[in-house]
Amino acid sequence: MSTAAPTHDHGHDHEHHGPAPGLSRWIFTTNHKDIGTLYLLFSLLMFFVGGAMALVIRAELFQPGLQIVDPHFFNQMTTMHALVMIFGAVMPAFVGLANWLIPMMIGAPDMALPRMNNWSFWIMPFAFTLLLSTLFTAGGGPAGGWTLYPPLVLQTGEAFPFVILAVHMMGASSIMGAINIVATILNLRAPTMTLMKMPLFVWTWLITAFLLIAVMPVLAGAVTMLLTDKYFGTSFFNAAGGGDPVMFQHIFWFFGHPEVYIMILPAFGVVSMIIPTFARKPLFGYASMVYATASIAFLSFIVWAHHMFTVGMPLAGELFFMYATMLIAVPTGVKVFNWVSTMWRGSMTFETPMLFAIAFVVLFTIGGFSGLMLAIAPADFQYQDTYFVVAHFHYVLVPGAVFSIMAAAYYWLPKWTGHMYNEKLGQWHFWLSVIGVNVLFFPQHFLGLAGMPRRIPDYALQFTEFNMISTVGAFIFGLSQLLFAYNVIQTIRGGAKATDQVWEGAKGLEWTLSSPPPYHTFQTAPRVD
């Protein structure tokens, strides 16, 4: 009797299966692991593109006066940096993680809509080529800030329609990614994987995908109305024609605030998977984590005008948005409490993923606190449009979202590639990053409180010292990311063999697979207890 072990059979050409050769493998692939890899590598590339822009900004701000770039180019850099980092680095990284991990975590053979998965990735390189190429058009790229407020944004030159098209393409990609993720999670779970047994990364992505599907049409509509206002004579946001520019801000933030949670909820999921592994204790308060995530998602729809306290609103509006925003601190606090309780009396070890996860908990919380300060409407009249806001959102986005992505990369890289990354290099990367990021962003709190406005290429003399410190931090942080890229590439190319379990304390279906997950995806039927 022949055994059932997979055999390598090269005898029959017509039965050849698997990837197409060479480049076409990557262009036509519908395999979730291939597509996840493409997303992650694309995101890494965009992280460096956006990072280079950030270094241009920080280099110019090293001293008062104009040294390196002219103000118009500076504004293009701030705008492009934000668009590239948000839509090109952070979002695709999380979609890439979802692609790799969700099928493995829920016991599905692949994503639910593999062909759409291919499209949703391949739109991205085109969208960003288009967006970045606008830097070379007459009048330069967009320079009015990533929030695209009219009437300022309508002064963009020839680049304008291309920027809008690029935003549409990114939106379409996000929507397709989100549909795929919801359909996979809801339809393709293994029989024993009930909703309340799903790993938190899966839960947070499920809720994130709902948010994405809810708000993306709002963004698409808003940017299209900018376009018709500029080229087709409509007056949605044009006061001269009876429109209202402030309404753009309402609509934008109605999308924009849920969007910032879209960037942080999957990060919560990642950290909730990593901390239990290295604390060697189950996650404290699993159910409360799920409910906290859902309430954050719900609240994110009713707080948008905290970005607009100074724009002008009835007093009742100011109060409503102030209290609603503060409410978010409650479920967020639940999460931080649960992470800390998970570590409490755990037998902790501090490998690179855990270091990044712990830094996430501490530094994200700092960003949450500055958010609370900004949520106080009367105080925000002082802070609005200063570097304090810049410090706030960078604390939640860099040591928040970006650190969680790095933690995830170190944590699952051995599973994906079959090789262990270089732990020593990982530790160096962590310490340089965590020092760099604080030297970079902490002084910006002081600059903001002292009144330095954001989005300016030049500043008054009294802000010099803190700006210099910040720039030094930026270069430490930026350059240490090269260690990360080097470490990742080296791990892909080879290195010590990883075991299937990889981490002693890791739980979950993906760790029952061999590393890298090969043709026989599960050795034994996936069972969830």
Partner: protein
């Protein structure tokens, strides 16, 4: 999922293969309805205020969501029945009822689980008789396919 059900008496062994299916059709409709309600609840007030250009995008998106869920639901209803009788192997495919059917002679049938030369890609389970090859269980999870290969082999070895 591999089940052992719905077989006629002529079959000596019978395998019914289905993809994972964790959402019933009713639930699919409810999920889609909830997407419609959430999206429209956000978009319709904007339309009422005159910002009607969000509506076509919401419509397009809901169309995409609906199509996606419909296709996945359809796929999840796929079914393959492998019926091993005294001297034939019948393979039927379809959703509610068999839409495709193929009968092979049982003698000389060989079950091959082919690994992909490249890791990361799923294996393929082939039933071969003379020059003829049929693939089964494409939508299964790896370990189910492996299990099925073992079971099929065992059944084929038992003398009819």
């Amino acid at each position: 999922m591999i089940a052992d059900m719905g077989c006629t008496t002529e079959c000596q062994y019978c395998f019914v293969l289905r993809p994972n299916r964790s959402l019933s059709w009713r639930q699919t409709v409810m999920v889609f309805a909830s997407f419609c309600i959430i999206t429209l609840a956000l978009v319709l007030p904007l339309v009422a205020m005159g910002f009607w250009l969000v509506l076509p995008f919401a419509g397009l998106e809901l169309l995409a969501v609906g199509t996606g869920f419909y296709l996945v639901a359809r796929h999840c209803h796929e079914r393959e029945v492998i019926c091993i009788a005294a001297d034939t192997i019948r393979i039927e495919r379809g959703r509610r009822k068999p839409e495709q059917s193929l009968t092979l002679t049982r003698t000389w049938a060989r079950v091959v689980l082919k690994a992909c030369p490249r890791q990361w890609y799923p294996s393929r389970l082939l039933i071969r008789v003379h020059g003829q090859t049929v693939e089964v269980g494409r939508f299964l999870v790896e370990e189910e396919r492996r299990q099925l290969a073992e079971d099929l082999n065992r059944c084929l070895c038992v003398n009819p």
